[in-house]
């Protein structure tokens, strides 16, 4: 990869990374949301791999491979398993915020991300830190998905988007946190998704569906 094309590839991968997050807000079908999330995992791995090749760091390329397996393979697989086999459940029917408003919110959040990351970019301007706003925008969109969707599984996807955004921030800003921390974080993330998968199964047996609207028993 030449030094001229490096920012181009990085921008392409970051564009795909942000676009898939917006796509999650746009789709109703839960299986489509999971496909978009897997695509985003691949985009994240691509970002890290491009950084690794540019910095001639074998370690980063290997980390990118690991990230790709986890975020584009294992986590989407677990999420799809949590979906179960009942097609009636597989749609987000009554989101708290409808799709048009969600897309507007995504645009507003992206602007906010640009404003909030100005000091981050200013500290060390480079092609990598230049796309930090996209990573932070994905964090904000993930958080928004978490609050604006009712299905248990959409919330899980929202949480995973949030986490993808944070991982991208870590690699873009600082070429990743120390390896021991990164390992711990990935392991924790895998366990959280496993726990949530078991809980969705139990919720489905207890409530008959995993629509969180049914979760209204605990209140003051």
């Amino acid at each position: 990869m030449t030094d001229i094309s490096y920012p181009l590839y990085l921008d392409l991968a970051a564009g795909l990374f942000l676009l898939t997050a917006v796509g999650v807000l746009w789709r109703h079908q839960l299986s489509a949301m999971i496909r978009l999330f897997a695509l985003q995992g691949a985009a994240l791995a691509a970002i890290v791999a491009i950084l690794g090749i540019h910095q001639h760091s074998l370690e980063l390329v290997l980390v990118a491979l690991g990230l790709g397996v986890l975020r584009a393979g294992v986590l989407p697989y677990l999420a799809r398993r949590a979906l179960g086999d009942s097609p009636a459940e597989a749609r987000e029917t009554r989101p708290v915020v409808n799709v048009a408003a969600s897309l507007l919110a995504a645009a507003a959040l992206s602007l906010l991300a640009y404003a909030a990351t100005r000091p981050l970019v200013a500290l060390a301007p480079s092609p990598a830190t230049g796309i930090l706003p996209a990573a932070v925008a994905v964090v904000l969109i993930g958080f928004f998905t978490l609050v604006a969707r009712r299905r248990a599984l959409s919330q899980v996807v929202g949480f995973l988007l949030l986490d993808n955004g944070i991982t991208a921030t870590a690699f873009l800003a600082a070429a990743g946190v120390p390896l021991i921390v990164e390992l711990g974080v990935s392991f924790d993330l895998l366990l959280v998704v496993l726990v949530l998968q078991v809980l969705t199964t139990r919720l489905r047996t207890a409530f008959g569906s995993s629509d969180l609207d049914e979760l209204r028993e605990l209140h003051d």
Binding site: V177, I180, R202, A206, L215, L218
Partner: protein, 491 residues
């Protein structure tokens, strides 16, 4: 020797978890295993406290595991509450008759939970601290959902989703702190090592550090029950089994605040004391206000205890905002006193819940005449939580108020204690209704539950004695408390 003292707090609970995984939960044998390991953990914590007081901070594994006076103080708290919770667990599970499989998981997860908290307070690296705090969410998720009822599953779901998202925000904060540290010339593990970071704090880029610290405090604050991401707390604490509620309220919330204190030790030299003081004051006062309002209309006694935890965490956040040495000393004493008193309160509430099969305040009447011993312990725990002498909370609340006024935050302190007074009145009224009054005319028709024996009461009595002793004299731990306060407190 020091290495052993530093590694045993993690090794002992892991060993106990392995025993439960291999042998299951047997009422007369392995059920008491946890008491043995947590008693050893307490001995280890005392040994570590002595070492740290005499020789200063110690570390191992290249600085990944480190203990200073503050870590030793936190570990003492974790060990004491873990001992009480494990001591009370056999009676709790015996009353509940769970499946063998569920009891086994209870044993495994409870000890993994204790191990994760030990790692959190002994981590020398903010990244490891973060991983340990997140691990507590994972292992306690199934403990919260232990009863498998609809309400327990709902609480577990909210708990995992809200806490994981909040703690992810804290991680974003740590990532940005690492970014700032790299540009201040630190590399690798050093860039997240709290001691190194605090030493190089003045070189960190202020604009990036401001964002980083804000995110980290909001994230860890959510895990400590501070607004705005507090909604999981009353649900999780009221649905978990009593010994787990005791651990979650008594030590997990303080461990999350310990993370805030470590971040504060980096933030204050980098940004000046004003930034975090403002942020923490806002969080403290809104948490206190919310807890006071929710306590007034409360109808469930376990939720009442949960909101009382939020109230105490609000006070602790206020003390952290004040940030002077006397304030931090009062804060640490408050953590210890609240941990012990809240443990007794949750454990006795668990027995009350089991006897009445309901956690509604209106379903519990005249406890004092029907089960005097249980009523006395619950009442004394509430009295201690309300801050009456000789409980340690009296001394610590007085200390927080004096430090607040002394640091020029008289208005904020006055507002905070107005909310505390509101909570005081609400808790007194609710508990009075449960303890006193005429016995109900129609006794429940079901077979009367097993008597509340003095043997069952032993851990509760021990906890209350601990609160009272801490309130009367600090004795040998006074030096440790002062040393711990001076590690993060401004002079």
């Amino acid at each position: 020797m020091t290495i052993l003292l530093l590694l045993a707090p993690v090794g002992l609970p892991l060993a106990a978890a392995l025993v439960y995984a291999a042998a299951g939960w047997r009422p007369h044998t392995t059920a008491w295993m946890g008491v043995v390991t947590t008693a050893l953990l307490s001995a280890d914590a005392i040994g570590l406290a002595v070492t740290v007081t005499r020789h200063g901070p110690v570390d191992t594994a290249g600085g990944l595991i480190r203990a200073d006076a503050l870590s030793a103080w936190m570990l003492l708290g974790v060990a004491a509450v873990a001992l009480l919770a494990c001591w009370a667990s056999p009676a709790y599970l015996a009353a509940e008759h769970p499946h063998a499989r569920r009891a086994r998981w209870y044993g495994i997860l409870l000890h993994l939970f204790i191990a994760a908290m030990a790692v959190a307070v002994l981590a020398g690296n903010l990244g490891i601290l973060w991983v340990a705090v997140e691990a507590t969410t994972i292992v306690t998720a199934f403990l919260v959902g232990h009863h498998r009822s609809r309400t327990a599953l709902e609480a577990a779901w909210k708990y995992v989703v809200i806490c994981s998202a909040a703690i992810a925000i804290a991680f974003l904060g740590l990532v940005l702190l690492y970014y700032a540290a790299q540009h201040a010339g630190l590399t690798g593990n050093d860039a997240l090592d709290w001691a190194t970071l605090a030493g190089h704090a003045h070189q960190l880029d202020p604009a990036v550090t401001r964002i980083a610290v804000g995110l980290a405090v909001l994230g860890f604050g959510a895990k400590a029950g501070l607004v705005p991401l507090h909604a999981w707390l009353p649900d999780a604490h009221s649905q978990a089994p009593a010994p787990v509620s005791a651990l979650m309220s008594g030590v997990l919330l303080p461990v999350a605040l310990y993370a805030v204190l470590r971040v504060k030790a980096v933030a204050d030299p980098a940004l000046g004391a004003g930034y975090l003081r403002t942020l923490l004051l806002i969080l403290a006062l809104t948490t206190l206000a919310l807890a006071a309002v929710q306590l007034i209309g409360q109808r469930d006694f376990k939720r009442m205890l949960a909101y009382s935890s939020m109230e105490h965490m609000g006070l602790i956040a206020l003390a952290a905002a004040v940030g002077t040495r006397p304030a931090i000393a009062a804060l640490l004493l408050h953590m210890a006193g609240h941990g012990l008193a809240k443990t007794v309160a949750f454990l006795s509430a668990g027995h009350i819940l089991y006897r009445h099969n309901s956690s509604r305040i209106t379903d519990v009447r005249a406890l004092a005449t029907r089960t005097p011993l249980l009523a006395g312990l619950f009442g004394l725990a509430i009295v201690a939580l309300l801050g009456f002498p000789p409980a340690a909370l009296f001394a610590s609340e007085l200390g927080i108020a004096r430090a607040g006024v002394g640091a020029g935050l008289a208005w904020a302190t006055a507002a905070a204690f107005a909310f505390v007074a509101t909570a005081f009145a609400a808790i007194t009224a609710h508990s009075g209704r449960m303890l006193l009054g005429p016995p109900p005319m129609t006794e429940p028709g079901a077979a009367p539950p097993a008597a509340f024996t003095p043997a069952t009461a032993m851990p509760l009595i021990a906890g209350l004695l601990g609160v009272a002793v801490l309130g009367i004299t600090l004795g040998p731990v006074a030096g440790l408390l002062q040393a711990a306060a001076s590690t993060v407190g401004a002079p």
